[in-house]
Amino acid sequence: MNSQPQERINAEFCLSYQPGKAKAFSLDVALNIPAQGVTAIFGASGCGKTSLLRCMTGLEKTNSGKFSIGKLVWQDESHFSPVHTRQQGVVFQEASLFDHLTVRGNLQYALKRVSSKNRRGVLTEQATFIDYQHVLDLLGIARLLDQYPASLSGGEKQRVAIARALLTQPRILFMDEPLAALDYKRKQEILPYLEKLSRVFHIPIIYITHSLEEVARLADYLVLMDEGRVVASGELQDILSRVDLPLSFENDLGVVLKAKVVEKDSKWHLMLTEFEGDELWLKDNHLDIGEPLRVRVLAKDVSLSLAPQDSSILNSLPAEVIEVVNDVDDAMSLVRLKIGESILISRVTRRSVDHLALTPTFKVWAQIKSVAILP
C-alpha cells in the first residue's frame, strides 16, 4: 500500500449496443479510482459491470475509451494495447482453466508467457515479485498440482485460476464475480484467500460483484453502478453510510466499521472491539487482541432511544443525529448518526421519528441489536 500512494486508475468508456433486439444497452462510465486496495464495482445483474470490466481489460475493443494506471496507459484516443500485451491478471466467473492441462500445466502456461514477455522487456519493474511457491502456499493448491481441472471442486478451480492470474505478475488484478458460480460453502472457503490477496500483494484489485456481503468483506473502495452508469463511487465506509442513494439495498442497507480487538472477556465469551469513535462488545470470534476486523451494522438492526435503557441489548452508544430522510418504504425513515468519527444508519418508523422528535444535532442512544462480524 505504501509503494505508490498517489497513483490513480483512470477509466472512461462510452459505448452502446444496439443489436436490433429488444434490449438495447449503453455504458457510459468515467472512473477515477485509487490504484491500490480492492475496488468493488457493485450493481445488479445487467447493470453493465461485466461490460465495463471487458472494456477495462481490453477484451472488448472500444473505439473511444481510456484506461490508465498511473502513468501506464493501455488505451487512449491514439493507442490501444492488445490484451495479451497488458500486464494484467483476469479471473473470470467460471474458472476458465485449460481442461487439457494439469493444474501445474495451467500455472506454467502463465509463467512461460511472463518470462517470454520479460525477455522482450515488456514487463515493468515491480515492487513485489510474486513468487510461485508463495502463491501455491497462499492459495493452498500445492497438493493439486498433478490433477486435471475436471477432478477439482468449483472452489479449487477458482483458487487455481486466481493463482494463475497472479503468476502473470500483474500490475492490476481484475476479478469478474469470482464467487458467483459457487455455493455458500465454497464461497466461505475462498473469501479468506481473497482477503489475503489484497493484504499480501500490493496490487490493485478491481472486483466485480452483485453481493453486498463480498463488498462489505473485501472492498476498500466502492463503485455503484446502475443501467450502465456510475451512481456513486468513494471509500467503502463513505458510500455505505450514505442515505441518499436510491439503491436496492433495502434490508441490506448498513454500514461497515473497521475495528480492532482490544479486550477479551473469557467469562462471557465476548470481545471488546474499538472503532473510530467508540467501542462494541461482540461475540468472541477467536481473534487475538490487536487483530483488525470488519463489522457490518445493518440499518434495521439499529434502534434509537432518548436514554440508555436497561435491556438485553449489549451495545448502546451515544450518538448525534445528522440527517433524517424518508426511506423508499412509506412507513420508514433513515436516520444518519454520528458516533465519534464514524457514521451509523438507523432504519426506524416515521412514527418513531415524529414521536422522538428526531432532528439534526439531536442526541440519542443507538441500540445495536446485532452485528455481523466479517473476520
Binding site: H84, F92, H100, A110, R113, A165
Partner: protein, 238 residues
C-alpha cells in the same frame, strides 16, 4: 493373391491421393472453419452454403465445371498454363484439386463445430495470460478441439477414397496417374472381371468399416447416424 499388380497400383495411388488431400484440407479448412465459427458477418450464411455445396451436388456437376475450368480455355487452365504447369485435367494434381473442393465440407464442418464448442472463454483466458492470438490458437484451441480435427481428417481421407464421379469426369482412367480404386473396380466390372471386382470391393468394405469404427470409438458419445449428424449443426464434441 486375389489382387493384381494394377489393383495394388490403384490402392497405392488412392492412398497417396487421400493423404495429400487430407493434409491440404486440414491446412485450408482450419482458417475457413475458424472464420465461420467466430464471424458475425452477413457473409457467414452464404460462405457456409458454398462450402456445403458439394454435399448436395451430383459429383458429375462439379466434375463437369472443373473439367471446363481446367481445360486450356478455362479459368484454371489459363492460370496453370501461365505458370507453365500445363493443364490439370487428367492428371494426379487435377484430382487433388477436385478432391479438395469435393471434400471441403468434411473438413470444415467438424472443425467448425469443435471450435464453436471450445468457445471464446479459453481463448480470452489465454489472451489474459499473455498469449498472443496465434499462440492461444495453437496452445489452447487446437488441443481442446483435437477430436474435431481427428474427425475431419478421418472423414476427408475416407471420403476421398470413396470418390468416383468427380474422378471419372476430370481424371479419366490413366493407370498410375488417375486410376484410383473406385475407378479400377468400375473397370473390372466393365470388362466382366468379377473376381477382381469382388476382391477390391471387399477391400473397400473392410476399409470403410474400419473408418467408421474408428470414428465411433473416438467419440465419447455415439454419433447417431454418422454422416448425417456430422452436418446437423451444433454437435457438441464434449
Amino acid at each position: 493373391m486375389w489382387l493384381s499388380p494394377s489393383d495394388w497400383q490403384a490402392i497405392v495411388l488412392t492412398c497417396k491421393l487421400a493423404s495429400v488431400v487430407t493434409i491440404i484440407l486440414l491446412i485450408i479448412g482450419t482458417p475457413i472453419a475458424w472464420w465461420l465459427a467466430k464471424t458475425t458477418s452477413i457473409f457467414k450464411a452464404p460462405v457456409s452454403a458454398v462450402v456445403a455445396l458439394p454435399l448436395v451436388l451430383p459429383p458429375t456437376v462439379l466434375g463437369f465445371y472443373l473439367l471446363v475450368a481446367m481445360g486450356p480455355t478455362g479459368v484454371l487452365g489459363g492460370i496453370t498454363q501461365a505458370l507453365n504447369l500445363g493443364t490439370l485435367a487428367f492428371t494426379f494434381w487435377g484430382l487433388v484439386f477436385a478432391s479438395v473442393l469435393y471434400s471441403l465440407p468434411f473438413a470444415v464442418q467438424p472443425i467448425q463445430n469443435a471450435i464453436e464448442a471450445v468457445g471464446d472463454k479459453p481463448v480470452e483466458a489465454a489472451l489474459s495470460l499473455g498469449a498472443s492470438p496465434f499462440d492461444a490458437f495453437f496452445s489452447v484451441v487446437l488441443p481442446l478441439a483435437k477430436p474435431g480435427f481427428i474427425t475431419a481428417a478421418v472423414l476427408c481421407f475416407a471420403h476421398t477414397v470413396g470418390e468416383f464421379g468427380v474422378i471419372l469426369m476430370i481424371g479419366g482412367n490413366i493407370p498410375g496417374e488417375t486410376r484410383v480404386v473406385s475407378v479400377q473396380i468400375y473397370e473390372h466390372v466393365e470388362s466382366l472381371d468379377y473376381t477382381h471386382a469382388h476382391a477390391l470391393s471387399a477391400v473397400m468394405i473392410g476399409f470403410s468399416f474400419c473408418v467408421l469404427l474408428l470414428l465411433y470409438l473416438l467419440k465419447p458419445k455415439p454419433l447417431g447416424f454418422a454422416s448425417s449428424s456430422i452436418f446437423s449443426g451444433k454437435r457438441r464434441l464434449k
